[in-house]
Amino acid sequence: MFGYTVEEVGNIMVMQGFSGLSLFSVLLLMALGLAIIFGQMGVINMAHGEFMTVGAYTTVFLSKLAVEYDIVKSYFVFAIIAAFIIAFVLGYLIEYMMIRHLYKRPLDTLLATWGLSLVMQQVFRSTFGAKEVSAELPEWLLGSFQPTEGIDIPINGVFVMALALIVTVSVYLYMFRSRGGLRVRATMQNRVMAGAVGINTKQVDRVTFALGCGIAGVAGAAFTTIASTGPTTGSLYIVDSFMVVVFGGAASLMGTIASAFGIAQAQSILQFFMTSSMGKVATLMTIVIILMMRPEGLFAAKVRK
């Protein structure tokens, strides 16, 4: 068909399916942190992308050290953990200094965090320079492996997938299987009541926000394997992240996963059959139209008003 052998087409379909999946895990990683911050707390964190960049720069920085001490093989795991911790702490501070004063005014958090993102970008620029940098990656993260001739499965793609899976599962366990998560959900559903039963809601807010940022940091670290690291890298991700979360129906983790999957498949398929930029437009367009018809997103439960 179309002058290609069946095998060729088969291989492409396999790889195409895979790239759909890896795009899915990329979007999922981007969105998870936001799903917690926006979905659970209703805070519109426009600086989400910058928290990812924090993770990315952490990785780059550590990779430089790794090269010096010649531990390139193993450092990446630590890098991810470090990225999480740093982004987490930063998020904790930001919540304390800024966000907590704005819970009553969601649209204002949007403006304030936008301002924050500008500041962070400039901080990156002044500390790491305006030029893009790349992390020294361990061999085992490079290249691809070939189950059969003609099929290449990108290793970094697999890596990102695995990471996305781990993060998602742990978020799920935390939110729905742990006391901590219970407190979070309680607080978000009924702050007053939660306070009344002795939950330190302020603390919960702070940790929840920080957690979201931490996950963003992990995402950023992971993306050093597939994309660029520069002062303005974060701005590449922010809109997509919000699309995923909103499309999924802000409050639900399942929704986020589902919408990440849907968007990823749509985009990778459209971009295969149309030109890349038109593919992107088509995807966004579809999302917007669906959102207009179903504003509460895909997975919002119908409730009795």
Binding site: I44, L110, L111, A112, L118, Q122, V239, F242, K280, V281
Partner: protein
Amino acid sequence: MNALSEKLLGGKQGAIHLAILAVLLLVILPLCLDLFRLGLVGKYVTYAFVAISLVLLWGNGGVLSLGQGMFFGLGGYCMAMFLKLEASDPISTKIQTTPGIPDFMDWNQIVELPWFWEPFKSLPLTLLLVLGVPVLLAFIIGMAMFTRRVGGVYFSIITQAIALILSILIVGQQGYTGGVNGITDLKTLSGWDIRTDSAKYWLYFVNASLLILCIMLSRFILTSKFGMLLLAMRDKEERVRFSGYDVASFKIFIFCVAAMISAVGGAMFTLQIGFMSPSFVGIVPSIEMVIFAAVGGRISLIGAVYGTLLVNFGKTMFSETYPELWLFLMGGLFIAVVMFFPEGLAGLYEKYAPYFSITSLHTRWLKKVQKVSGES
């Protein structure tokens, strides 16, 4: 004063404030600034249109659109398309493969003018479309979202996405739109060279006067029952609905008006700066313009204008002295305004102006006098 002027000027206070602004824009600034700085002010004023549109929509309507840049951009593009057609007459474009069409089309192997460019051959039609296209888009978006009661954050994010789509489209379809370069190298408006100094002065005054007009229009809307209903909706939308009002239609209307005002700003931008670029349609400018309004103080039309002027002067000055640091200031401003003076300039004015007003000075002076006389 009678009902109408009352509504247009918004009472004695309003009239005074408007007059002060008018004098500042139309007399003082032109007198003290050289043409270059005045040109800058002219540019800022075009942003002020967007700022006041946001005062209507966000400050009073409680609906934050992160896509006002779209309407500014569309207005600008419509104007630019007309000017571009005029600039690319067969003689001046004879080196092209197809003379008589805009240069960027020629570069993209387009051999005849696309149908949607045709209307922009006539000025009246163009002026109509400058207002019409953005309003139509706003109407469609509004219909789709307000009738389904999409509001608050969701509205903001969706408008943002639409802005993104539009900018990707414009950049992608460069054969028809000029792509990322925008529509550049505009020369004359029906034979009148808009690049000359005299033209610049004229355009500045037209621009400023239009702004004053738009403020009066907005005043009219806000002081009417419509304005009161906007406030009511922001407070208890359900109640308004159950008082027999079709809430959606009101929101759609104010959204369209806001789009129209922004579009006027865009068109004036094109005329004064001499080109239009997709960098206005995107997300960043849309959000920056929100901060102009916020600095001015969301609910105050006049405040929004001062806010815009202030922020942009700050931006220009600061970026001249410390090119690499102005982002800190800009970002800091966003945070500070939101956290420390959500009322913006207008708020500060409300708070401190009475203290300096003639009457209060007078009374304080009287007190002093009495005190003195009392002692003697």
